[in-house]
Symmetry: C2
Subunit: 207 residues, 2 copies
Amino acid sequence: MGVFGSIRVLRLRAGFWESIKSGLLKDDTTQVIETSPEPQVEEPLPEEFVLIEKTQPDGAIEQIIFSSGGDVDVYDLQSLCDKVGWPRRPLSKLAAALKNSYMVATLHSIRKSPEPEGGDQKKLIGMARATSDHAFNATIWDVLVDPSYQGQGLGKTLVENIIRALLQRDIGNITLFADSQVVEFYRNLGFEPDPEGIKGMFWYPKF
Amino acid sequence: MGVFGSIRVLRLRAGFWESIKSGLLKDDTTQVIETSPEPQVEEPLPEEFVLIEKTQPDGAIEQIIFSSGGDVDVYDLQSLCDKVGWPRRPLSKLAAALKNSYMVATLHSIRKSPEPEGGDQKKLIGMARATSDHAFNATIWDVLVDPSYQGQGLGKTLVENIIRALLQRDIGNITLFADSQVVEFYRNLGFEPDPEGIKGMFWYPKF
Ligand SMILES: CC(C)(COP(=O)(O)OP(=O)(O)OC[C@H]1O[C@@H](n2cnc3c(N)ncnc32)[C@H](O)[C@@H]1OP(=O)(O)O)[C@@H](O)C(=O)NCCC(=O)NCCS
Ligand SMILES: CC(C)(COP(=O)(O)OP(=O)(O)OC[C@H]1O[C@@H](n2cnc3c(N)ncnc32)[C@H](O)[C@@H]1OP(=O)(O)O)[C@@H](O)C(=O)NCCC(=O)NCCS
């Protein structure tokens, strides 16, 4: 069940959109399965924590760190986007988008050298960000993991933890627009396409 | 063609999502049909302007004013939401959502009395708001028009003008999640559901 095993709130399916509109997840449309002083999430998540620690053949230690603190260098992000083949975006706009996202979650690899003077190497290997009205809705954009780190559960952990961080801030309606090739990835994570016939729509000028 | 008759930019269909990701609407994926020093929109829109002016039987003048300036009283908004039958939301969260929306567009009716001492009456009759990263994406939420003002083109004008205001701020990717009963309303306005298989998805806890 991963990180959500500890979530004790059950939102009722009926009136899904109504419950979102009302923003009254706790009062109106949820049932607390267990009694607890903090019904939403069992224990608050720190902003930054170690996901994985591995000793490498050369004795170096590699840690994978999750953070929802938003500390990401725009050049590092650009080179990560290059790695997954996304078209280049103007750096000034990318920096503005990071600054004005409600939450920027990152995965960093930190390699601690076995040599005493070797120092640490820190590398951005994943990111997801969310826009929000800080109250009801958040929308997740730009989820990506460095190809050499894909396929080991990091994308899943990244999204699970940005969800968890959003829930902790009491954002009830977490949405995204998924490319067709990642719809199943998100469905596995508990996202439903078109619930009750709600459609994601994009505007563009008519010919 | 309404308000969009004056937009001179043609975004090419091919590579739709790529063009959004690149954020390079002007450079990469658009063709300027006419040459102009300001290719996106012909003339900048003022933040506030009169849409309609009508003289009523008693001699009073009613103006309908569009504004993208975000000046909306949270109690007025609550009573407007009541009128369309939306479930009540906590006022503190509603106020936070307004404050943290990138754009809040409103329609007000202003009734200017024919009596010299009669004064003006100002009433909120419509609203739409958008969250955004201030750079690439905006998502429109909470579009509504007072039922006694529906069916005369105001909902359409409201959405057209919030789109126009977003384009003027160089936001290329304008999205929303439409309830099934308003998908056609938005399609008429130039929104496409699921372009290239992109799916709107909502997260909720598993049972
Ligand atoms: C999509 C992406 C973030 C997944 O990251 P990842 O670290 O490789 O994914 P994980 O290893 O955490 O996968 C978790 C689960 O999802 C599955 N999965 C991964 N990618 C998938 C996909 N495209 N479709 C369906 N399932 C997928 C995995 O098989 C795994 O399943 P399991 O739990 O049954 O073992 C990554 O492939 C990526 O960055 N892609 C390029 C950018 C992109 O397309 N982003 C999303 C659109 S904006
Ligand atoms: C949806 C809503 C904003 C439309 O406002 P409105 O002022 O009545 O709409 P307009 O008069 O501008 O309609 C413009 C066009 O859309 C059409 N239209 C209006 N509502 C429609 C609907 N639900 N489905 C399909 N078409 C619709 C009109 O017939 C008109 O067509 P025309 O240009 O061919 O004449 C309004 O009905 C409303 O506030 N509804 C309640 C709240 C809501 O459901 N909001 C949207 C979901 S969050």
